[in-house]
């Protein structure tokens, strides 16, 4: 089954700028792929279309067996709960602890608190920040914040995991670790799509790589 399918997708932003043009690809369920391209190529835009943060101007985006064009506003929350995202700017909340930041998706989904706590700790442990759980994310370095964002994305054990530049603020060693973490999730069935500039890292991973240039998919392979 296809986890993510783009069929001739175009995205034109208000103001007439075409961020994506005729993008066509299919990511099978359980696949792991990289998305790369120059700054402004449209990587973030592509991920936003999957998250329904933007809607495609043309073509069809499909996630699982759901055509996103026909998904009503009311059903967006359910859709998003199936997807974990790591954002380029971490999108953490500085009015609560690291623990509460990671617990947010579980709270929203209505998990039992003790169950949620267990999952949050497991996720924080995976990114090596369990001992920082009581701190405010503002007291963390950028790399640490990025890892909190990763923990929040995986805490829900989502079917699809998206990451936008997840290693932009990490040193090479940590970057490697984060990638291994994503691979591990991929091994247990999660579909993973990672946007990144880190070409040397991508090459080392030897995974399928989608290359965008000026909004067009110019390469798709290993």
């Amino acid at each position: 089954m296809a986890a993510i399918r783009f069929s001739n997708v175009g995205k034109r932003y208000e103001g007439g700028f075409d961020a994506l043009t005729g993008v066509d690809f299919t990511l099978e369920s359980g696949e792991m792929a990289f998305l790369t391209g120059h700054s402004g190529a449209g990587k973030s835009t592509l991920l936003k279309l999957i998250m329904l943060m933007e809607r495609a101007s043309r073509g069809q985006v499909q996630v699982g067996d759901q055509d996103l064009n026909s998904l009503s506003r009311r059903n967006i929350p359910q859709h998003r709960r199936r997807i974990g995202v790591v954002f380029q700017n971490h999108h953490l909340l500085f009015d609560r602890t690291v623990f509460d930041n990671v617990a947010l998706p579980l709270q929203i989904a209505g998990y039992d608190p003790s169950d949620a706590a267990r999952r949050v700790r497991a996720a924080l442990d995976k990114v090596g920040l369990l001992m920082r759980e009581k701190q405010n994310p503002i007291a963390l370095s950028s790399g640490e914040q990025q890892r909190v964002g990763i923990a929040r994305a995986i805490v829900n054990k989502p079917a699809v995991l998206l990451a936008d530049e997840p290693t932009g603020n990490l040193d090479p060693e940590l970057s490697e670790g984060v990638m291994r973490l994503f691979e591990q999730f991929n091994r247990i069935g999660t579909t993973v799509l990672i946007a990144s500039h880190d070409i040397s890292l991508i090459e080392r991973m030897r995974r399928r790589t989608l290359v965008l240039r000026g909004g067009r998919l110019v390469a798709d392979g290993y």
């Binding site: 936003k48 998250m51 943060m53 933007e54 929350p77 359910q78 859709h79 998003r80 709960r81 995202v85 954002f87 999108h91 953490l92 909340l93 009015d95 947010l104 998706p105 929203i108 989904a109 209505g110 998990y111 039992d112 169950d115 442990d125 995976k126 990114v127 090596g128 920040l129 890892r147 929040r152 829900n156 054990k157 940590l174 670790g177 984060v178 291994r180 973490l181 691979e183 591990q184 247990i188 069935g189 999660t190």
Partner: protein
């Protein structure tokens, strides 16, 4: 601080989180309690701003409460006065006290009258002295110049019926003149009309004010929690979920604000009790200024809380939809 990718993870399918029905409703209830408490705690995080808002709310709620109490008191006052139309029967001066007494008893049997009171000549003199500005004057007279008066209260208050009754009473031989006290009614009506119009103007303004203050405050809170809303929506929060804390904020603002308002009304009333009672004494009225009673207090608090929730509701609706991650 190393990443631990090696840890064993059970297959996802088996672990998938399923929430049962009982669990859901319990969770729902717990969630509401939690959100309500969090909203309350959040108010205490910015104590100055919160107190400022509560003070504004209390004032805006206290003013209608105050108005309400004043109207109450005026009503009480006007019960002390005689608000019914009345007809004064001035008897001929030569009518004896005994005959006046008998006449008043006869009138009590008249179906059109709901009350009869005889003011005999001595009593009239005493009353006159106490009311009139020309108090000193009568003591200068050698004999009592006043006639006996019978004061009757018509049962039917309609103008036509009153005039007919007046004519009927005028025709009694002992009655020198039957004066229908309509000016009194007219005056009171003017008073009431004015009070009513004023009440409408003020109540309208203040009801609006409460809604605006709560709405405005919550709208601003919402603005300052924009990031939180964005993130919550991104990780799958529904509109209702995002809205809930703001409704509870409105609830708390309304509740606490109206409690403050209640206290404010009582204190303000206490402050004016002195002069008001002094004034009442001059009119030798048995009027006593009353505070908000329990029912009115509850109405005030219920109204305040309701307005708070409504304000939260109105201010979040369209605006929350507009905050969308992009």
């Amino acid at each position: 601080m190393a990443i631990k990718p090696q840890e064993k993870v059970a297959p996802r399918g088996a672990q998938k989180h399923r929430v049962g029905h009982l669990d859901r409703s319990r969770g729902w209830f717990r969630h509401h309690i939690e959100v309500a408490l969090q909203a309350l705690v959040r108010l205490t995080v910015t104590p100055v701003a919160t107190l400022m808002t509560l003070a504004v709310l209390a004032i805006a709620l206290a003013l209608p409460g105050f108005l309400f109490t004043v109207v109450n008191n005026i009503q009480q006052f006007s019960i002390g006065w005689d608000t019914n139309p009345r007809i004064m029967l001035y008897l001929n001066t030569e009518v004896e006290d005994a005959r006046a007494e008998q006449l008043s008893l006869e009138l009590m049997l008249h179906g059109g009258l709901s009350g009869v009171e005889l003011i005999d000549r001595d009593q009239g003199l005493r009353e006159f002295s106490s009311y009139s500005e020309f108090a000193g004057m009568l003591s200068l007279l050698d004999s009592n110049p006043l006639p006996a008066v019978i004061l009757v209260l018509p049962a039917d208050h309609q103008a036509a019926a009153l005039q007919q009754l007046q004519a009927e009473l005028q025709s009694i031989p002992e009655v020198s003149e039957a004066v229908l006290d309509l000016e009194w009614i007219q005056r009171l009506n003017a008073y009431l009309l004015m009070a009513e119009r004023f009440s409408w103007v003020l109540s309208g303004l203040l009801a609006l004010a409460v809604l605006l203050v709560v709405g405005n405050t919550i709208r601003m809170t919402l603005e300052s929690r924009r990031d939180e809303i964005l993130v919550a929506k991104l990780v799958g929060a529904t509109d209702a979920w995002v809205r809930r804390p703001f409704l509870y904020s409105g609830f708390w603002y309304g509740l606490i604000g109206s409690l403050f308002a209640f206290v404010l009304v009582q204190v303000s009333l206490y402050l004016i009790t002195g002069p008001a009672n002094q004034l009442a004494q001059l009119y030798s009225s048995n009027f006593v200024l009353q505070g908000l009673d329990l029912t009115s207090g509850l109405i005030l608090i219920a109204t305040g809380t309701g307005l708070g929730v409504l304000g939260g509701f109105l201010s979040t609706g369209r605006h929350l939809r507009a905050i969308e991650p992009s």
